[in-house]
């Protein structure tokens, strides 16, 4: 079916060079460079409107940068690439949509093919295995519209994994999840990524649930990006340089918060994380 792609050690799975993306003259991504290696877990952090979802569209080949190159395993980005698994930011499901958890996951296997699905043992087995892998087997026959946010998120991750991707793109999978479910989803993705050697890029507002699992962080702001280890990116000088005005990185009980600095006019206002909210809730 799918020809296995050989990944040599040290070869980047995703290589983005000097891309520039514009919407009606407005530059959303400017001179962004990203390299992701097999099996890496990358947290993609940044304020609203920083261009995180746009970056995913570019990687998926749905949006062409006006400048620069995007290569996935050495090939130009192109939509329909089975090497990329994708979980979009929002899913609006009618509570009564006649679709069970297993139907949603099965769409990941062959939802892009024309025609009606023929019942097959192999198909069912693969779906069942994937449901078990994301710990969703117990609600396999429940209607998707009535599952919780965390349960739906597991199913979306399962459908994205069914094409045997080498790169998994998750757009804000933790928003709308309570803290416990958020940690569960993060641990699940990180475990599967390690086991199968899949590189993961996970977009999050709050980097704190990712701190224990992410290898590197990609921080987007003001159209620019910095990438590196957590301690090299979450520094006053690095992020102030990125934002173009002073920002401060606060460490509170092992948690990280980025807030507007002294002269920025948005003093003390958290710039991208909702950790204040979640802390208030605990």
């Amino acid at each position: 079916m799918i020809s296995p792609v050989k990944v040599k050690k040290g070869d980047a799975i995703l290589s983005i060079e000097n891309i520039r993306v514009q919407f009606n003259q407005r530059c959303v991504l400017n001179d962004v460079n990203v390299q992701v290696f097999p099996g890496e877990f990358i947290g993609l952090i940044g304020p609203n409107g920083a261009g995180k979802s746009t970056l995913f569209k570019v990687i998926l080949g749905l949006l062409s940068p006006i400048q620069g190159s995007v290569r996935v395993l050495g090939r130009a980005a192109k939509s329909g690439d089975r090497l990329i698994g994708y979980v979009p930011q929002k899913l609006f499901l009618d509570p009564n949509i006649p679709l069970r958890a297993r139907d949603l996951v099965a769409l990941g296997l062959d939802g892009h093919r024309w025609g009606i699905p023929l019942p097959s043992k192999v198909r069912k087995k693969r779906v069942d295995e994937m449901l078990k892998a994301v710990d969703a087997y117990r609600f396999a026959d429940s209607p998707v519209g009535q599952l919780s946010g965390g349960e739906q998120q597991r199913l979306l991750i399962a459908q994205a994994l069914l094409t045997d991707p080498q790169l998994l793109l998750l757009d804000e999978p933790l928003s709308n999840l309570d803290i416990k479910s958020a940690y569960e989803v993060v641990n699940l993705v990180s475990r599967i990524g390690r086991e199968k050697g899949i590189a993961v890029i996970l977009v999050a507002h709050d980097m704190n649930p990712l701190l224990s699992v992410m290898d590197r962080v990609l921080y987007l702001a003001e159209g620019k990006a910095v990438m590196g280890r957590v301690e090299d990116v979450f520094r006053n000088d690095v992020l102030s340089g990125l934002y173009g005005y002073p920002v401060e990185v606060l460490h509170v009980n092992g948690r990280i918060m980025v807030v507007g600095g002294n002269n920025s006019g948005i003093n003390g206002y958290p710039l991208e994380c909702n950790c204040c909210k979640s802390e208030a809730a605990t």
Binding site: G80, P88, N96, P98, G111, D141
Partner: protein
């Protein structure tokens, strides 16, 4: 009165065949109309078809041609001009523009009573054998198209973004689907009428989603409900001489109410068992 003629007279045989084809087609089209939330388009297209039918009556050509031309034209208009945000506005404009044209065509023709009344409220006795053949042909074409579009359409209904990322040409797919709905309404309208076509498209599926959550079972159940609705309506229309559209919409509404009731008591039962409601 109920007599053997209901099965033996040639116009009734045509009615049974035409009604059955229309019931099968509505059940499958309705499944996607309901899960895609395109009820508004499914409401507008039969009205566009009606205008085309009225125009055809005026020009003295086969109403089916006018119906198909306007319903498919309306589908293309909604498909091309409408995007995610402005879809409703474009659909509404298509609806009022074609209804306006329909009013004009009606005003200009003097066959108001017979032809137009049938287009609005449906008439089972008027189906000719040519029309039955055309209905069967269009019905089969629509079903084959729907089977071909099935999986990508389901995926795009769940998430447009995932479908796009998987390389599905989502916009083209949506336009194709609307054209199939338009074509289907062209054969549904003469049987149940433009005003009540909607009830056959929406009713059975809106009912079945309360009874099952498996897509295959939901479609099978809708098919059953749709057939029962149409068959009961044919019998009642034959006996009473009233318009069939009346019986289709009443039966549809009644079955929907029953499904809601069953659903309500089932959910309550589950909650009771789980001890969520304490009595």
């Amino acid at each position: 009165m109920l007599d053997a003629g209901i099965f033996t007279q040639s116009f009734m045989i045509h009615a049974w065949i035409g009604g059955t084809i229309v019931a099968i087609l509505s059940a499958f089209i309705g499944f996607f109309v309901v899960i895609r939330g395109s009820s508004f388009a499914a409401h507008a297209l039969p009205q566009a078809g009606f205008a085309g039918g009225a125009g055809a009556v005026l020009l003295n050509i086969n109403p089916l041609c006018g119906l198909a031309a306007f319903a498919v034209g309306g589908a293309l208009l909604i498909g091309y001009l409408g995007d995610k945000e402005r879809n409703d506005v474009i659909t509404a404009l298509t609806l009022v523009a074609t209804l306006g044209a329909g009013a004009l065509f009606l005003g200009l023709t003097n066959k108001y009573a017979t032809g137009a009344y049938a287009l609005l409220f449906g008439q089972i006795v008027g189906v000719s054998s040519d029309q039955v053949v055309a209905t069967a042909f269009i019905g089969i074409v629509c079903l084959l198209c729907l089977a071909f579009l099935y999986r990508p359409l389901l995926l795009a209904s769940v998430s447009r973004e995932i479908a796009e990322a998987r390389g599905v040409p989502v916009r083209l797919l949506e336009i194709c689907f609307l054209v199939v709905v338009g074509l289907a309404t062209a054969i549904i309208v003469p049987v149940v009428g433009a005003l009540l076509c909607f009830s056959l498209l929406i009713g059975p599926n809106a009912t079945s989603v309360y009874l099952t959550s498996s897509p295959g079972k939901a479609m099978a159940l809708s098919l059953l409900i749709s057939l029962v609705t149409v068959w009961i309506s044919i019998v009642l229309a034959y006996i009473s001489g009233w318009p069939i559209g009346f019986f289709v919409s009443m039966t549809g509404a009644l079955l929907y109410a029953c499904a809601r009731a069953v659903h309500y008591f089932r959910v309550k039962n589950i909650r009771l068992k789980a001890g969520i409601i304490q009595c």
